[in-house]
Subunit: 233 residues, 2 copies
Amino acid sequence: MKDCSQCIVRNRAICSGLDIHELDLLGRQGRKQKIAKGQTVFWEGDDVVVVANVIEGVLKVSMSMSDGREQIVGIVFSSDFIGRPFGQQSPYSVTALTDAELCIFSRSTFDSFARQHPELEHKLLRRTLTELDRAHEWMLLLGKKSATERVATLLLEMSVRLGETGCTVDNGALDTFELPLDRQQIGDVLGLTIETVSRQFSKLKADGVIHLPDRRTVSILNRARLQDISAAA
Amino acid sequence: MKDCSQCIVRNRAICSGLDIHELDLLGRQGRKQKIAKGQTVFWEGDDVVVVANVIEGVLKVSMSMSDGREQIVGIVFSSDFIGRPFGQQSPYSVTALTDAELCIFSRSTFDSFARQHPELEHKLLRRTLTELDRAHEWMLLLGKKSATERVATLLLEMSVRLGETGCTVDNGALDTFELPLDRQQIGDVLGLTIETVSRQFSKLKADGVIHLPDRRTVSILNRARLQDISAAA
DNA sequence: CGCTCCATTGACCTTCGTCAAGTTCGGTGG
DNA sequence: CCACCGAACTTGACGAAGGTCAATGGAGCG
């Protein structure tokens, strides 16, 4: 890798706490890699040989059962971190939902670098803690919310997180955005079937809460109403 | 707090990486506190003023919606850590399921101590990462598993985690144990109603997989079968 | 002995999943 | 530019799993 200081996620990724010297050191260990949409970066159950920062693109983190049932347990965006540091087996798979670019490190290299650079571990800790908060929020959704509430929650969440990833200037929630997930994947995030998701989309559209110009893009027409429907805590 | 070196969770809590000097320093900041069963340690949405190690007892970590629906997002045992370091608001409530004893720190004190002691942050990071793994596993359960599978999974999980907390010598999974949760709470962990949980218990009992000597205690008669039913990944 | 609190069980109903057509969109080739 | 093709999505009819409501059971305690 040549120059971390020019990296577009420089200020948002976990590397952001490092000084120029450390950044250079870490940079030597990493390599950029492009991942095509649909490609899996690593598989559930495999040995964790690498971890990575997401430079560009959207990926899903998923777990599945022996009979094929799959749950998406996370969606990661530009500047997010993927992989399981300090672990032997990967508990999940990571797959690109869009074409993506990663900054990849061998896990063992990363682990020992992290141990020698508390600032990096600190950033990773903070990130893991927010990730855990998000997981908890999602457990509430999966355990207690109705189909309508789940879909509304997802739309709001995507609106916010796509807004955060710096595609826009203002960093605010987007009113119109393109979903990086197809209907099946939305079902797999929400613990619903594709048909139920579709019906809820249709209903929200019929109620004038959202507009669906095409399969993938969503326009929020009435955010307050959507928040209401999502039964936000 | 007088003497951390004598603490019963000394070797399992996040303090375990600290040397005697550091341990003494940290010990001066903490205080032990007994919590009665049913008492809430801190509330969802409140400012996080404290964090704590669990010395003894079992507590639930829960999130709830404005209309009262509640999801238990975690169960913590002896030597586990509770509270949200580096955060403003607590995203969840923590309530004692049994009488408990905590080792409490002011969050700001803990935060700055942690930042000055990378070994502590490292332990906390590892713990947070396994906590996240567990949350992911539970998302799979909540999103994709049937009622029977959920109950079977919970029983196995409790069997293992109660076994780990050092109540026994061998640290293995227990075949007979007392549930720290009542039926309503089991429902709140599994995303089911109390009636469905009860029906599944009765069914497992009728099938000879488990035995229920009284409301709270469970005896696993056929672990292999239970594992099968749980649809473990 | 009887009261209270859980837990269990039963009957019924709602929500969501399943199965099976359609329909739309986007891409490809004529 | 238009026709066609396939994949993804939508819609409908039906059924099953689990929720709801209500009655019953049973253990612990005064």
